[in-house]
């Protein structure tokens, strides 16, 4: 479903701040793969997701989504294939617009926007049903401005928006990191349910090793812009946090953040 071929990206090339974020990264995701991504700070996890989403052009390599070469496509055109949830709960929704308006915008992702009504009565009824999966009571607050919601509620709404029309690829960039543990669990739970229900091909970055092990059918570890560990299927099911910590040590990754060890 997703194929990254030898992707490279260097930020601030030719300056003292030069940083090779992706070094000939290659990755292939089959349809329905739910891949968790872990790695220390600066390993290139977010850079990889942003390269796929088209936030910036890559320096080299090729990106294919379901066989289509999207390497040269701008971000808004790739959005047709991709649903995204960002780390910052403020990023994924329009604060000054209502819940139902945000959903209506998401329902038109990848379609041309015309002078037809921005939201119809039939859609409103559908959104009420769709919001129930989040179990946050948002279905009774359809016309509330999103800016009045909590970070967790906004993140859950963003998740629903990203999957409202089935994306070929779902990108989750530490989407529960900014939330309190209880809310994070709830959002992660909703993620699991939606991904399983719609059989979505998913890339999920997480700082939480336990989450990385519990969720998904495949786990990759990144370091210095490359994938250094890739495990799936039965093998992944047997994986423990200790195993992962060992892998980190073997990889010479000393800067394990406290967050990763403690969680």
């Amino acid at each position: 479903m997703l194929e990254l071929k030898n992707i490279s990206k260097t930020f601030n090339a030719g300056t003292v701040n030069e940083k090779a974020a992706l070094n000939g990264l290659s990755l292939r995701l089959e349809e329905g793969d739910f891949v968790t991504v872990i790695g220390g700070n600066g390993a290139g996890k977010s850079t990889m997701l942003n390269a796929v989403a088209g936030t910036f052009p890559v320096d080299g390599g090729q990106i294919l989504i379901d066989g289509t070469d999207v390497t040269r496509l701008p971000e808004h055109k790739r959005a047709k294939y991709i649903g995204r949830v960002f780390q910052d709960p403020m990023t994924g929704t329009a604060a000054t617009m209502q819940i139902e308006e945000n959903l209506a915008l998401a329902a038109r992702r990848g379609k041309s926007r015309t002078l037809r009504p921005g939201i119809t009565k039939k859609e409103r009824e559908e959104y009420v049903e769709r919001l129930k999966i989040l179990d946050l009571g948002l279905e009774t607050r359809m016309t509330t401005k999103v800016g009045l919601l909590s970070g967790g509620q906004r993140q859950a709404l963003t998740l629903l928006m990203a999957t409202l029309i089935k994306p070929k690829l779902l990108l989750l960039d530490e989407h529960t990191a900014a939330l309190d543990p209880k809310t994070a669990a709830k959002v992660l739970d909703a993620t699991e349910r939606i991904v399983t229900r719609d059989h979505l091909t998913t890339l999920m970055i997480t700082h939480n090793m336990k989450d990385a092990i519990t969720h998904g059918n495949r786990l990759i570890m990144m370091k210095d812009g490359q994938i250094i560990f890739d495990i799936s299927g039965e093998e992944k099911k047997k994986l423990t946090v200790e195993d992962l910590l060992d892998k980190f040590k073997v990889a010479g990754e000393d800067d394990l953040s406290d967050k990763m060890v403690l969680s």
């Binding site: 989403a53 701008p74 971000e75 808004h76 055109k77 959005a79 047709k80 991709i82 995204r84 960002f86 403020m90 990023t91 994924g92 929704t93 329009a94 604060a95 000054t96 617009m97 308006e101 209506a104 915008l105 998401a106 038109r108 992702r109 990848g110 379609k111 926007r113 015309t114 002078l115 037809r116 009504p117 921005g118 939201i119 928006m161 990203a162």
Partner: protein, 307 residues
């Protein structure tokens, strides 16, 4: 200081306020919806007036001339939009560049710095001489109808798929892109609609005062902002609906002209008006900020007492 002279000026205040209200609605689209301060409007107002007068003098029907003015404004917005999106120039600077260029273009359109248009010679829609007439040609009535029709059209437009994508662009660029919105297109479109309205307002203003002048738009952006902010400060708590928010902007322009008239009546010179306008806008911009600060301190104190 004869109070009657102030009362006598009120019909003119209402008419001019409503005409400037249309311009202020244009400013609202960029300033509040797109989250861009577009300085093009200082030039566009005159472009609208100039285009209208030249088309009228060339024998065009008044409606055709006004559509022409609207289109000229849209082109000005398009140029600013392309400066900003295709050339990567910051929005404020892009507006300033177009505004400066429009000064020359407006002189080219008119061929001279000032062009009169006589209401007896041409069949104009609004004119200052009818401001006390009771009838269908009263400029207050006609401007009010314009304001209502424009609000209705904008209310419809911003409810469409395209209009919603424009609002999303102003609310959150990252979110808009992630939802597949080409934010360059929506920004340019917003600037075009905004400047089109400003030029339309300019065409009405030229008719009302009977001339277009190359300096007629100087400071227009500040007056537009004044109207937006006055409208929000005064009606913000009761006018929540989008159409009512637009109406508040138009009423804000009328209130601005009322304040203007009162200040003149108090004996200040018209030459001082730019200074006074700037001060009015500064005060109205500062009020929400001060209010926030005061309430913030108040809330913190209250919170401390409860803890």
């Amino acid at each position: 200081m004869d109070i009657m002279s102030l009362f006598n000026a009120l019909p003119s205040v209402a008419a001019q306020g409503l005409i400037w209200g249309i311009m202020a609605i244009g400013v609202f689209i960029t300033f509040r919806i797109l989250d861009v301060a577009d300085l093009t409007v200082d030039g566009t107002l005159c472009t609208g007036g100039a285009t209208f007068i030249m088309l009228t003098m060339a024998g065009a029907n008044v409606w055709v001339a006004m559509v022409g003015a609207f289109c000229a404004g849209m082109v000005a917005g398009l140029i600013t939009g392309l400066f900003h999106t295709a050339c990567g120039i910051p929005a404020i600077l892009a507006g300033i560049l177009t505004q400066l260029a429009l000064y020359s273009i407006n002189l080219r359109i008119m061929g001279q710095a000032n062009r009169p248009v006589n209401a007896t010679q041409y069949d104009l829609l609004v004119s200052q001489r009818d401001v006390r007439e009771i009838g269908l040609n009263n400029p207050i009535l006609i401007s009010a109808l314009f304001v209502i029709v424009i609000i209705a059209l904008l209310y419809w437009f911003f409810g469409t798929e395209l209009g919603s994508s424009l609002r999303a662009t102003g609310a959150n660029l990252n979110m808009a892109r992630a939802q597949g919105i080409n934010v360059n297109v929506t920004k340019v479109l917003g600037l075009m609609v905004s400047n089109g309205l400003v030029a339309l307002s300019g065409s009405l203003l030229a008719q009302y005062q009977g001339f277009a002048d190359v300096n007629m738009g100087r400071g227009a952006i500040v007056i537009g902002l004044a109207a937006v902010i006055i409208g929000e400060v005064i009606f913000g708590r009761i006018f929540r609906n989008f159409a009512l928010r637009l109406l508040a902007v138009a009423l804000g322009a009328v209130i601005y002209y009322l304040v203007y008239q009162v200040v003149i009546w108090l004996g200040l010179k018209t030459d001082d008006m730019k200074l006074i306008t700037a001060l009015i806008v500064a005060v109205f911009l500062a009020i929400p900020f001060w209010k926030g600060k005061y309430f913030d301190r108040f809330a913190r104190k209250g919170g401390g007492a409860n803890a």
